[in-house]
């Protein structure tokens, strides 16, 4: 098929479709991420409260056990077993405190992703806005200039988006981090 003039209308439709469908999907992604954040926040709040309550109850229980041990009413074997359990509980409490920090790390990652999604929506909007400025009656050079400007704006916008984000969280697991004293 011979094309005598540039298919500007078709190009405009294509760019509008890319923008529209892209934005629709990104809106869904953003909503899912916000819901995930909400669920994580609620979960960590309840986990934290329950953990504190359990720790408080165990501490009171331990206080009673310590009193019994001091009064020497406990058989030696039981006292030794309780002491081992006391240390086991202490180690597990430490592990829980470390693990519960997952919410801080994941919420930083989610927040970074949401900001990137919002930025991408902006870039797609720009794609649509600029494509509307293309007119089939324009000269080829003028249209080429529009396309060049769109590419430039997308490049700049993408660069600015990456620069404006917080650094990514590098942790790959919940192993505790390094400590440096200066």
């Amino acid at each position: 098929m011979e094309v005598k003039s540039l298919p500007i209308e078709e190009l405009r439709k294509l760019l509008a479709a890319v923008s529209e469908h892209g934005k629709q999907h990104l809106v869904e992604v953003e909503a899912d991420l916000l819901q995930t954040t909400f669920l994580l926040n609620e979960a960590i709040e309840k986990l934290g409260a329950s953990f504190s309550a359990i720790h408080e109850a165990v501490a009171q229980q331990q206080h009673i056990i310590d009193q019994l041990a001091q009064s020497q009413t406990l058989p030696k074997a039981s006292a030794e077993k309780l002491d081992v359990l006391k240390h086991t509980i202490g180690d597990e409490v430490n592990a829980v405190v470390t693990s519960l920090q997952f919410q801080d790390l994941t919420s930083q990652l989610i927040s970074r992703t949401i900001n990137r999604v919002i930025g991408l929506k902006g870039l797609l909007h720009e794609l649509e806005t600029h494509s509307n400025a293309m007119d089939p009656s324009h000269e080829h050079a003028q249209i080429a200039q529009f396309l060049e400007m769109m590419s430039h704006n997308l490049h700049e916008g993408s660069h600015a988006l990456s620069g404006g984000l917080r650094r990514s969280v590098g942790q790959q697991d919940m192993a505790t981090g390094d400590i440096d004293l200066f």
């Binding site: 709040e45 934290g48 942790q171 390094d178 200066f182």
Partner: protein, 122 residues
């Protein structure tokens, strides 16, 4: 009298874990939700140690440290960073700003207490 530690972090769960760990070791804990809140609370009462996150809204950790070091009462108070940031570049910036140490999240409560005890005593 128990020593007081100012814990600055925009994450409520992280502040909760820090406060839980430090209180269990006998320290008093004042919490702040960002650098500006931390600066305000530090001015209200001079604390024995500041433990701050880096990435926070309104005012980040490095800016908080610089502001605290500019105050007469905080020129020698130990300041530790507790952050997800682990690059040498950021650690160098922290040291230059006046931080005394750098702890990478997630923290182990036992090791956190050991560091705090080393820096300010029990």
């Amino acid at each position: 009298m128990a020593k007081t530690i100012l814990a600055v972090d925009d994450s409520g769960s992280l502040r909760q874990m820090v406060a839980f760990s430090l209180k269990a070791a006998g320290y008093e804990v004042v919490q702040a939700v960002d650098g500006q809140d931390g600066l305000n609370k530090a001015k209200e009462k001079t604390v024995d140690l500041v433990l701050t996150d880096q990435n926070m809204p309104i005012m980040d950790g490095l800016t908080l440290i610089k502001n605290l070091r500019a105050l007469g009462s905080y020129q020698t108070v130990p300041i530790l960073m507790l952050t997800t940031e682990s690059s040498d570049e950021m650690k160098a910036k922290g040291k230059a700003a006046g931080a005394n140490g750098w702890l990478v999240k997630p923290f182990d409560p036992k090791r956190l207490i050991e560091v705090v005890q080393k820096v300010i005593g029990s």
